[in-house]
């Protein structure tokens, strides 16, 4: 029997402020486009990032990846970067709006460097009612992954 492929998902939480704003647009255009998210003082969210990694279950450990490795990677590369920050001040968002669409792509790039298992999906909840998913460049969400 071949080694089964499983998908492990871990949720991480951070809190950050941001402001949706584009310098190239006029104040009126920004206000019209982004509404209350354009408030010059910013606002904040409790973000939840759900990371899904896929791979064969290691017969020695019974794991797709060791959670201690994943948690320490997430602490160093996700939480230390974003938690209790203003997203707009980070270099990642110097040239792009700190929307959660852009954030989910950046978080994908971060976890695509994780060395121990293949990244399958990043899902970010900005609020209880808004969530965003990214499966990597050119990879549509498979119906089998519903």
């Amino acid at each position: 029997m071949s080694t089964p492929i499983a998908h492990l998902s871990r949720r991480y939480h951070f809190s950050a402020s941001h402001r949706l704003h584009v310098d190239a647009l006029s104040p009126e255009q920004n206000a019209e486009t982004f509404g209350k998210c354009n408030n010059p003082f910013g606002h904040g969210h409790n973000y939840t990032v759900e990371v899904t990694l896929s791979g064969p279950v290691d017969p020695t450990t019974g794991m797709v990846t060791n959670l201690a490795d994943l948690d320490s990677f997430a602490q160093r590369n996700l939480l230390d970067l974003f938690d209790h920050t203003n997203l707009n001040t980070l270099s990642l968002f110097r040239d792009q709006v700190s929307s959660t669409e852009n954030l989910v792509v950046e978080v994908w790039r971060i976890f695509s460097e994780y060395p121990h298992a293949a990244l399958r999906r990043i899902h970010i909840e900005e609020t209880n009612n808004n969530s965003f998913e990214y499966f990597g460049e050119g990879v549509p969400p498979s119906v089998t992954f519903a």
């Binding site: 089964p4 499983a6 998908h7 871990r10 020695t60 450990t61 797709v64 201690a68 089998t144 992954f145």
Partner: protein, 137 residues
């Protein structure tokens, strides 16, 4: 095709240990999960089945029947048990969330009338879960 998901809960004890490794290696790899006195979780199982709507009943599957199958095949075997000591599949496999999802898939496969097993998701806690889609996914 419709996907339908039913949840069930069970509470179990487990620990992580591979007897082919040394004590020191077990402790390095599994950390506090290697405590052989065990520890426990409230697990949540989500079973998703795929099927067509029966034109007579409007159902993909009879939810009561699905609930009874989950109870009989999984919950009655796992709930308030020590997975390592009392559930046969974990005599040889470490009861990680990944292996629990695979074991539950194997317990349920072929047992649900009129629908195909699509996904087994096991939450060990709200922030950690594993999905299994069968041998070919």
């Amino acid at each position: 095709m419709i996907l339908l998901t039913r949840k069930a809960d069970f509470s179990s004890a487990h620990f992580y240990w591979n007897s082919s490794l040394s004590d020191a290696e077990n402790e390095r790899i599994f950390g506090k999960c290697a405590n052989r006195q065990g520890h426990g979780h409230n697990y949540t199982l989500e079973v998703t089945v795929a099927g067509e709507i029966d034109p007579v009943t409007g159902f993909v599957v009879d939810l009561k029947q699905l609930k009874d199958i989950l109870e009989h095949e999984v919950v009655s075997v796992y709930d308030h048990r020590h997975l390592n000591h009392e559930v046969p599949e974990f005599a040889t496999a470490i009861p990680t969330t990944e292996n629990i999802a695979i074991a539950i898939w194997r317990r349920l496969e072929g047992k649900i009338p009129n629908a195909r097993l699509h996904r087994v998701r096991v939450y060990e806690m709200p922030d950690l879960f594993a999905d299994y889609y069968g041998e070919h996914q």
